[in-house]
Each structure stands twice: as structure tokens, then as C-alpha cells.
Symmetry: C2
Subunit: 446 residues, 2 copies
């Protein structure tokens, strides 16, 4: 993308309404625009990151064998009357009447609707296990929306629902989600720690939240420092293998890590003192096993191998897709702006032309731009007639992890400069070598 043809409305001033750094940086980098309290437009740069995050979520769900569908944003109230949640949900549910006076609502979550889909089409253990998920806009009418997309009202969420014939299978589905989520967050450059949690209005027995450590987090967290050093990495996981998947979950949940909701002082004190940490965390996902709460209420049953009809065992599993943009920025920025992890960056690299209009510099930039595109990498080429300082400031603000700087002085020596946003280090190399280096870097983030 050539910046002269893009729509990147960066702000020079810090917006007064933003209380936390991610909100401030998303506004300043021209990623979002508030349309009314807690409801945002995703401007082109923000939309690109949102799509990258969604894509990673889809890929990791698919890898775990889960099936994507898409439920609508609006739901009939009657479904929620069946589960009893229509009355229970309170004012966070946005209730709507259509032109015929029928009660509807903007879905805050989808347990009822997916249970309805299941009971309409599935009736036998032979069709299980089944995990259906979608990534869709949801609405919670927060009394005081704030922190930008971190606590918005209209938000984008992945929610998946598992259907199993018995509890052991349902717990395997739970574990499968934990492992899939671990890799999902790692690919986004995040350390997201699974912590035992309370189940809240969804209901349920087993539940873990995934917390990203950040000073601005809404939850107080207590953890063993060693838990932050665990990584799933590139290991191949057989998601059908219950023992293998359970062992990974054990590995990630044995060390102490709890939110204030479930914190146990005695257990925490058993952690070696030099590893005990108290901090704050941002919730970026949650998994639940809740058994037959919805299937019993709504009559979603299956015939077992023995010929009995039983309510299906269920769980639900969510990732806050739009919220993740905020969480990633909270975890990865400096005083100049955002620092995107390679896995979610909106463009793979920025190209800064130090002397726009200079025939040689322009040609070198064009050629770099095309070479990167040819290698499957998308560059943002700052082809504006701005001074170098302004171009660098924009690139630093929007946080592309790699920048290639092209100017007459370097070209005279046959080199350009490749700069890491994170470390600030610059290395001179030929344009071809810079492209090759970026190809190598991004090969690890496919």
C-alpha cells in the first residue's frame, strides 16, 4: 500500500478521552474512531489488525478440528426464555422490539442459539464429538463503556461450543480448547496465562480465564513467575489424543496462577518466595465446561451407544477478538507508539523514502515494494513528500515491526537500512538482502 493512497488519519495530539495507552495509541494511529459510547469504527489500519487476529483464531480452531459457522447478531427472545436467561441477564442485554412488536435481543453470547441448532439437527452419539464456533459481533450494554475497544459495547468475539456424549469427552474438548488457545495467543506474541476462574452468568463447573499481564489490567493476579516462562512453541499436537492434550493442560495449570476471584492465600504462600508475583492482567479469553445446563433446559439430547437418550454435555469457549488489539498494545508499546508482534502486524514492513521525487530513491523504493509483494509480504510505502522525521514518527507510531529506509546516500553505496521497531537497531544491507531477511523472519509467523 502506498501511503499517499491510503487512509491513515494519525493524530498529533493525545486525545483527552483516552485513559489507557492502548486506547490512546489506537486513536493516535488512526485505527479506530468512536461513533458513540463504546461503539467504534475500525479504520483501515485497525481493520487490518482485526482481520489478522481473526485469521489466527480461525487457523488454530481449524487445526484443533473445530468447525466454523456463523450465527446472526440478533436473536429471538424466546430462545432465551427457554433457558431462563432472558429475565436473568439484566440491563447488559440490549433488548429490541421489531416492527411487529416481537421481542428480540442483540446477542451477548450464543449458548441458547447453538443449542437450538444442535437439537434441530443432531440426535446420535455417532455425530459426536462436535465443536461449532463462530466469530461474530456481539453487544453488551455496559453501563460505563471505557478503555476503547477493551471494554466496548459492540465487540467482536470468537465463541465456540462443544457437544459430547459424556463428561470425560466434554473435558477433553475443554482441554483441546485450552491448548488451541495457548497457541493462538502465542502466535499473536502474547503470554496469556490460563487461570482458574469463576463462571459468572454462563454457569459451569470448570473454567479458566486467559490473562495477559499488563499494568492496566482489570483483574488483580497472583502467580508463580515460572508460569510466564512456559511456551507451547511449535510442538505438533494430536488433538484427538486425550492424554497428550491433558498433559499439556497440566503443564500449563499446575504452577500457581489465579485472579483475585479465586485467589487462595495458602496455596500462593506455598510458591517459593522469590517466584511469587502479584500484578494485573487483562482477560483475553475464557473456557467453560458446564455440562447439561443448557441441553437439559432446552431439550438437546442424544442417543448413546446403549440406546439411552441423554442430554448432551456442553462447554463454551471464548476469545475476545476486538479486545485483543487493546491487550496486545498494552503489552507491546513504547513512548513512540505501538510495537506490533510479527504475527499480527497490519503490514509486514514499512518503506521510508528519504527523498521523495529523487528519481533513484523513488525507483529503489518501487522496486523494493514490488520485490516484497512478490515474496508475499505487504509493505506500507511512505511515498509522501514529507520530511524524514515525520515519516519516521508515523512509522514508529503505527508500530510496523520492520522498516526499510531508502535514501540517496545509502543507494550510492548500494544499501538500504533495515530497522527493528522493537530494538531500534538498524543494519545496512543490499535491498535484496533486506527482502530475504524479511522473508526469513516472516516464515516463522505463517
Amino acid at each position: 500500500m502506498r501511503l499517499s493512497r491510503y487512509f491513515l488519519p494519525v493524530l498529533k495530539e493525545n486525545p483527552a478521552e483516552a485513559q489507557i495507552v492502548s486506547h490512546r495509541l489506537m486513536l493516535r494511529a488512526g485505527m479506530i474512531k468512536q461513533q458513540t459510547a463504546g461503539i467504534y469504527s475500525w479504520l483501515p489500519l485497525g481493520f487490518k489488525v482485526l482481520k489478522r487476529i481473526e485469521q489466527i483464531v480461525h487457523e488454530e480452531q481449524e487445526r484443533a478440528g473445530h468447525i466454523a459457522l456463523l450465527m446472526p447478531t440478533l436473536q429471538p427472545a424466546d430462545l432465551w426464555r427457554e433457558s431462563g436467561r432472558y429475565e436473568d441477564y439484566g440491563q447488559e442485554m440490549l433488548r429490541i422490539k421489531d416492527r411487529h412488536g416481537r421481542d428480540m435481543l442483540y446477542g451477548p453470547t450464543n449458548e441458547e442459539m447453538i443449542t437450538d441448532i444442535f437439537r434441530s439437527h443432531v440426535g446420535s452419539y455417532k455425530d459426536l464429538p462436535l465443536t461449532l464456533y463462530h466469530v461474530q459481533w456481539k453487544f453488551r450494554d455496559e453501563v460505563r463503556p471505557r478503555f476503547g475497544v477493551m471494554r466496548g459495547r459492540e465487540f467482536y468475539m470468537k465463541d465456540g461450543y462443544t457437544f459430547d456424549v459424556d463428561k470425560a469427552s466434554a473435558l477433553h474438548a475443554y482441554n483441546r480448547h485450552m491448548v488451541a488457545y495457548l497457541r493462538t495467543y502465542e502466535r499473536m506474541g502474547l503470554t496469556a496465562i490460563p487461570m482458574r476462574a469463576d463462571s459468572g452468568p454462563i454457569g459451569g463447573d470448570d473454567t479458566h480465564e486467559f490473562l495477559v499481564l499488563a499494568e492496566t489490567g482489570e483483574s488483580e493476579v497472583f502467580y508463580d513467575q515460572a508460569v510466564t516462562e512456559l511456551t507451547l512453541g511449535e510442538r505438533a499436537v494430536d488433538f484427538d489424543n486425550r492424554d497428550e492434550v491433558a498433559a499439556i493442560c497440566d503443564e500449563f495449570t499446575t504452577l500457581y496462577a489465579r485472579t483475585d476471584e479465586t485467589h487462595d492465600e495458602a496455596l500462593f504462600n506455598a510458591v517459593p518466595e522469590d517466584r511469587r508475583r502479584v500484578g494485573r492482567g487483562i482477560e483475553v479469553g475464557q473456557i467453560f465446561y458446564f455440562g447439561t445446563k443448557y441441553s437439559e433446559a432446552m431439550g438437546a439430547t442424544v442417543v448413546t451407544q446403549d440406546g439411552n437418550r441423554v442430554p448432551v454435555e456442553m462447554g463454551s469457549h471464548g476469545i475476545g477478538v476486538s479486545r485483543l488489539l487493546g491487550a496486545i498494545i498494552e503489552a507491546s508499546h513504547d513512548d513512540k507508539g505501538i510495537i506490533w508482534p510479527e504475527g499480527v502486524t497490519p503490514f509486514h514492513a514499512g518503506i521510508v523514502n528519504l527523498k521523495q521525487g529523487d528519481a533513484e530513491a523513488d525507483a529503489a523504493c518501487e522496486s523494493l515494494y514490488k520485490a516484497l509483494a512478490g515474496a508475499g509480504l505487504e509493505a506500507l510505502y511512505d511515498d509522501r513528500s514529507e520530511r524524514a522525521g515525520a515519516k519516521f514518527a508515523t512509522m514508529d507510531l503505527i508500530g510496523l515491526p520492520w522498516r526499510i529506509t531508502v535514501g540517496p546516500r545509502g543507494l550510492a553505496k548500494g544499501v538500504v537500512e533495515l530497522t527493528s521497531r522493537r530494538s531500534g537497531e538498524s543494519v545496512e544491507m543490499s535491498p535484496e538482502a533486506a527482502v530475504a531477511r524479511l522473508v526469513e523472519i516472516y516464515a516463522q509467523h505463517r
Copy 2:
């Protein structure tokens, strides 16, 4: 995808509520489920086609130089009060009050919001031309939703908005959209004819609808048969070249083609009699030039090169993404089911194992499945223990354009059968040749 692990709830019976073939086939093929009047869940197969269509739309918008963003589904009523449409829009607008009693609405279209984004960030001719578009869920509270996704209430739509400094530039943006849309529809296997139209509640001077010919279309259409033979094909278009783009528009709009709204009997009678056609059409898109209707009302101005401040010239351009699934099926089916054009098929090919459990047949299917995946083609492998007839019926119903049939008799001769869904023709060839043939076919649909 292995069918044994997929969620494809096909129906054996014709659903009574479906009046038109696309609705019937989408229900029978397990693509959609109605949740309440005019609101559908997109089951896995339907969701995949929806995504393919969306992807083509994005690619062709990008090729034309347009920029993707994403506006929210809910909008504050105040924006619509500025344009005067809040009162005008009538009962099709779904009006909502939030917990604080603020008036909101579920966006039926986005002229007001995009104008708000524009006026907040753009003020100079230097930032023009600019085209911003999104693909987002919208809502129109139709009094009598019907025909499945063809006239739903919650629907998925691409809407793009053009901003230009003067009328000539705005008309170029209009033409650019016409050409981009022509290629978009062609890639989906559709003949969509641009026809002069009325502007309706959006307002505007120039407007064309794109109509797909189908007996069940809601509009009566009058056209010169020769117009259906025009194709854009693979020609490279320079979207910045006004004359080139205008010439293509002339090519596609000179022959007579009108809906009943704008039909002119005298002009129609000037068409050679043997080429005069009267039929029905489904609207799958519309482009509008409306000048300064919204920019004047909402104060969206730019400073021109001469230093004057003028309201920006605008247009809006829509494609009915969810509706397209219905339109494609109306245009491409037979009595056995859907026939997907290659460009939008949910899977590139089906694999039917005639003897599940036979070691050799199973191994051959697995190997084919992997070879296709390795070539970037996604197969739906029917690995269920069903009889051949049932497997063929399912494949015919869901409409994958190519099927590979694998059985012991063929394997003894070293061959499998490659069958075209459209022609019904089968050819025996080695598994390797079948993969190579499919790679060749789909190379034309990337």
C-alpha cells in the same frame, strides 16, 4: 474436510416454508437455518460460500484501489437526524433504545456514518480521491421477509463510498465501481447486467442496478439479448485511466437493458426484434452517484486547489453479499441440487469412497485427499459408511463442481473417476492425473 467430522445436516424432504429453489436448496443442503423471520444462521457449508464471496468482493475492491474499513452494526440516531433520514426512513429501520434511553438504530446503510468519518479526518483535495468500503451485517425490518437469504432482515452487504473533489472525478469513481463489479460477478460465475435504475431512498442522479437473470427475480427486465454475451474477462484494467474505464462502462451500458422501473418502450422497440427479451432479474448490486446530498447536510467539505471550500462529491456502491448465495443458486442448479461455479464453491472437489473400510480404497482416498491439500485444493471426503447412491445424492445436492469417485474396481485398473457436476460427464484417469486436472481448472479461478 472429512465428512464424518463435518457438520452437514442435509435434509431429505423439501422444507414446506421454502417458495423458491435457492431457499429450498440452501435448507436441504444444510447451509442455513432460520432462527426467526428473516434471520438466519449460516451453517458450515453456507458460511464457507459466504466467505468465498466476501473474499472475491475484497479482492476486486482492492484491485480497484479501494480501502477496506469496518463500521459498526449499531449507529447513533443523531447522525441520521443530521441528514434528515431518521424520520424519513420508515419502519424498515430497526430503532433501538439503549439502557440510558439513547436512540440508536441497526444500520440499514452507512452514508451518514462514513460522511462523519470523512469530515472528522479529511479536509483537503490532496487526500482525494478516496474510496472507503466495508462488508458488514445490516438490518432492514422487512414487513414480510421471504425467499430465504434473498430477502432477509439481517443481511451481509458490501457498501463503498466515494469522495471526490468534483463531479467529473466522482463519475470516474462511479465508473470504476461499475467495472470492479462486473469482474466481481464474473468471478462468481454470474452474468450480472448493469441496468439504469431509480435511486430510491439513497437519493441521487446516476444509478445502475446489477441484475442476474432468473425466473424468480423480483424485477421485470427488458433487454437486448446481445448484452448477455458481453464479458470483461481477464483484460487488465488501469483503474486510474478515466477514458479506459469509461469506455468499458459504455461497452456494457449502450445496449438496451432496463428494469420495469425505468423501462422505455420506444427505446426497447428500437432493439432488433429477434434480440428483444423480457424476463425477470435478481438485483445483486447497485451503484449511485449522488453528489453533495450528504456532504452538504453534514458539513463534509474539502479545500480545493484554488483554496475554496466545497462540499465533497460522493457516491455509494453496494453488493448484496448474503443475497448473492441465493442469486447464484437460482442461476445455477438442476433437479438434483446446487451446481456451484468454481469461483465460489465451498470445496474444490468431493471425494466419494465407494467401499469405505476397504483398505485399498481407504488408502487411495486418503492419498488423494492429501495430494489435493498439498496442491492448495480443499476436498470434502465422504468417508462415511453409506452406500454409493446416498453419497452421490449428497454430493449432487451440495453441488461441488467436481467429484472424484474411488472404488476397488477402478483401483484395480489404476484409475479413479473425475465427474463434472455441471455436465455429468465422467472420465477415468489416474489419481495423479485427476489432481493435475483440478489444479489446472482452479488455476483459472484464483
